[in-house]
Symmetry: C2
Subunit: 402 residues, 2 copies
C-alpha cells in the first residue's frame, strides 16, 4: 500500500538548509550554509561539571518524568531574568520550557491556527518556522524586509487587503533582532509601529528571539513583548545559541490565558522537555558567570562577523550589497536587482562554497530572490577568508556574464 | 485581548493523569496514579559514566545540532536489534529517533490525519495519545477491550459502519503488549485478526510498544509490525521505561515511503532529539549488558506486580475483577458492572490513595467506566501493601453502600 499523506504535509518539502547541512558535512566544502553556533562558545567544562555532579548526587531528579510546563527552578530563574532584563510582567504572563525555539513556534501554531488561517511573516524569514506554519495548513503571506526591519506600510496595506477579503489573520511572525536570514535588526520605532498595527487589526505576534543575547555591536533595542500591554505577543527564546543546540531547550512567554491550551499542546507533543539540560541551564545561570559567558560568545561572533564583512568588502563585486549585522549568526548579500541567486549558489557549491539562496526563505516557495545567506559563526577564520575570496571571484564573473 | 484558541485545541482538556501526577507528589499520598517507571531500574552509574566520558573526550559531538532523523549509530543499532529480535525488514522500513514515544504518535498523526478523519482506538486506551489524535482534529472511535485484546468482531462491524457512513478511517491505535491502562496483552491470533481486518478495510495501524521489553511472565507474542507485509504498520518504541523517561528518546519504524514526510514533520516540530541521550542509549546497548539490564528491570516489576496482585486478591471485594498482567506497569480493576468508578476514585483520594478512573481513557471524554487503573511500578512495597489495603476496605464499603 502507498500511505496517503495528510493535506497539510503532502505539499511540504524539507528545509533546503537541513539538506545543505548534509552537504556541508563534507570536510572539503567550505560551508557558510548552516546555522550552527560556534562550538567554541559552548561552556563545555561547566556542562560536564554540572552533569557529573547531579548524576552522582541526585540522579533520579533529572532522569524521572518531569513537569510538562518545565523544571520549576529554571522557569523561576528565567522569569526573574526576563523581568529584570526585558521588563516582562509575570503577573500577566507565564513561561514554559519548550524543546528548542522550534517547538515554541510549533505549540503556538497548534494552539492558535486553524487550517486556512493566514500567518504573516517577514520576507525573507526563517524557513524552519515557515514550514511549521505550513504544517498546520496556514496560508503564509510575506511582508518585505527593509534595512531597518519589516516594511510597516506594506504590513498595514496587506492587513487592510486581507481584512477586506475576509481572511482570518492569526499572527505575525517576526525575528526583530539579528534576523535569520538577513541579519537585520528592526529599529525601536518600527517595533512600536508593528505593535500598533497588530493592535489595530487585532492580530497576535510571535516574537522569536533566538539570537537576542548575541549582540556584538550597536545598542540594545527593547523587545516587542516589552511593549505588550494587552497580551498579544508570544515571545520565544532559546538556549541553542547561548548554551548548546543539542540541549533542545528553549522557552515561551505568553499571556496567562494561554496557559492551559499550551500545557495540553505540550503534553500531546512530547510530554515534557529533557530534564537534565533544564537543570544544567538553571545551575549555569544561577551559579556561574552567565554574563561573562555571553560576553565571551559575543567576542567570538564580533570577530567572525568582522572578518567576513571585511573580506566581503574586499572581494565582492561592488554591485553586490549587504548590511552590517549587529549580532546573531548571519549576513545576507544581494546580487544586483532582478538576478536570481539560485543558479549563483549552485555554481558556488560547484566551486566548493556553500551558502543558501534567498528563495529558501520565502512565503511562496516558488518565488525568486537575489539574496544569499552567509553564516559566519561556524566556519574557521581560514575558511571564512578562503570562501569569501572564492565567492567574491564568482560575483565578478557572474555579474559580467549575466 | 482574549486570544482565540484553534478549534482543535479549544475543546481539549489536559490529561487527568498529568494533573493527578501533581497531587501524587504530596508525600503523604499513596500514589498508584502515575505511570512512572521504577527509579531503581535506571542504569544510573552507567549513564553517569558514559556522559562523563563523552563530555570529556568529544563534547561537541553531543552538543552541536544533530540530524533530524536521529543519531546514525543509534539508528543502526536499533535496526539490527529489531531485525533480530522482532524480524523487522529494514529493506522496506526506516527508523527515526523521536523525542519519546509520545512524539511518535504526534508525528504519525501530523503526517496521516486530516481534520475530521477517524482514528480507531482500543477502549480504554492511553489518554496521552488520545489527546494527540484530538489535537489534530481526529474523531476518535473506541473498540472495546476484552481479556485477550481488542474485540475484533466490534472492530470489523465498526469499520463496516464507518465505511458505509462515508467516514475516512486513517489508522487504528493499539498497545498490544501490557496495554496502558488495562495491562492486557493481545493474543497472537487476535493480532493476526487485527492485521487482517486493517488490510481488508485498507487502514493503517499505529502499534505502540513502550512496555514490550518489560515482560516478566508468560511467553513472547510477535508484534503486529512483524506480520506487516504491505507497509501498513507504524511501530513505536521508547527508552522511557528501559533507560529513563527524562531522556525523551523513542523510535518510530515505518514504511520507507513515509521517510520524507516524517522527516519534514520532525524538522517542523523540534528539529531533532537530544543528542547526548541518543549517544548514551547507543553506548549502553552496544558496550554494556543490555539483556542483563532488562532482566533486572523485569525482576523489579515481577516482584511489584505480584505484590500488588496478591494484596488485591486478599483485600478487594470478590465482585471486583482484574486480570494478571504479564508485563508493563499497570493493572486495571473493575467494580461490578454498571458502577461508575469516578466517585469511587474521588473517595479513594480522600482516604489518601490515588488511582485513575477508567473514564480518563475513553474515546468519548463524557463516557463512564467501572474500571480504575493501578500503577505498581513507582510505589514502594510498603505503600503497595498499605494502599491496596485501604482500597480493599473501600471496595467492601462501596459495594455494600451502592
Amino acid at each position: 500500500m502507498t500511505p496517503e499523506i495528510s493535506n497539510k504535509m503532502a505539499s511540504l518539502h524539507g528545509s533546503m538548509i537541513r539538506e545543505l547541512f548534509k552537504l556541508g558535512a563534507d570536510p572539503s566544502v567550505i560551508s557558510f550554509g548552516g546555522g550552527n553556533p560556534s562550538a567554541e562558545t559552548f561552556p563545555v567544562k561547566e556542562i560536564e561539571e554540572i552533569a557529573a555532579k547531579v548524576l552522582t548526587d541526585n540522579p533520579v531528579s533529572v532522569l524521572q518524568y518531569g513537569l510538562t510546563e518545565g523544571y520549576t527552578p529554571l522557569r523561576d530563574t528565567l522569569k526573574k531574568y526576563l523581568a529584570e532584563k526585558e521588563g516582562f510582567d509575570f503577573n500577566k504572563n507565564e513561561l514554559f520550557i519548550v524543546s528548542g525555539g522550534q517547538q515554541g513556534a510549533d505549540l503556538t501554531t497548534k494552539v492558535l491556527v486553524n487550517e486556512g488561517d493566514v500567518v504573516l511573516t517577514e520576507e525573507p524569514a526563517f524557513v524552519g518556522c515557515l514550514n511549521t506554519f505550513r504544517s498546520y495548513g496556514a496560508k503564509l503571506v510575506g511582508i518585505p524586509m527593509q534595512q531597518d526591519g519589516m516594511d510597516t506600510a506594506a504590513l498595514e496595506s496587506t492587513l487592510a487587503k486581507l481584512s477586506e477579503a475576509g481572511e482570518k489573520v492569526r499572527f505575525l511572525y517576526t525575528i526583530p533582532s539579528f534576523q535569520n536570514p538577513t541579519g537585520i535588526t528592526t529599529t525601536e520605532s518600527k517595533r512600536q509601529e508593528v505593535y500598533r498595527i497588530a493592535k489595530e487589526y487585532d492580530i497576535m505576534i510571535l516574537e522569536d528571539n533566538p539570537y537576542g543575547e548575541l549582540r556584538f555591536a550597536g545598542k540594545n533595542v527593547p523587545t516587542i513583548k516589552s511593549m505588550d500591554t494587552d497580551g498579544r505577543v508570544l515571545y520565544c527564546g532559546s538556549f541553542s545559541k547561548t548554551m548548546a543546540p543539542a540541549f533542545r531547550i528553549g522557552f515561551l512567554v505568553f499571556d496567562k490565558s494561554l496557559t492551559s491550551p499550551l500545557n495540553v499542546a505540550k503534553q500531546c507533543t512530547d510530554v515534557h522537555s529533557n530534564v537534565l539540560f533544564q537543570y544544567i541551564c538553571n545551575e549555569y545561570m544561577t551559579k556561574y558567570d552567565w554574563n561573562a559567558h555571553l560576553e565571551n560568545s559575543r567576542k567570538v561572533y564580533r570577530h567572525k562577523a568582522s572578518l567576513m564583512l571585511e573580506n566581503m568588502k574586499l572581494h565582492f563585486h561592488p554591485d553586490v550589497t549587504f548590511g552590517s549585522p549587529e549580532g546573531g549568526l548571519f549576513v545576507m548579500a544581494f546580487l544586483p536587482g532582478g538576478m536570481d541567486s539560485y543558479p549563483f549558489v549552485r555554481e558556488a557549491i560547484n566551486r566548493g562554497v556553500l551558502c543558501v539562496p534567498g528563495s529558501a526563505f520565502l512565503a511562496d516557495p516558488a518565488g525568486h530572490s537575489n539574496g544569499f545567506r552567509l553564516n559566519y559563526s561556524s566556519p574557521t577564520d581560514e575558511k571564512i577568508v578562503k570562501g569569501i575570496e572564492i565567492l567574491g571571484k564568482l560575483t565578478y564573473e557572474w555579474i559580467e556574464k549575466h
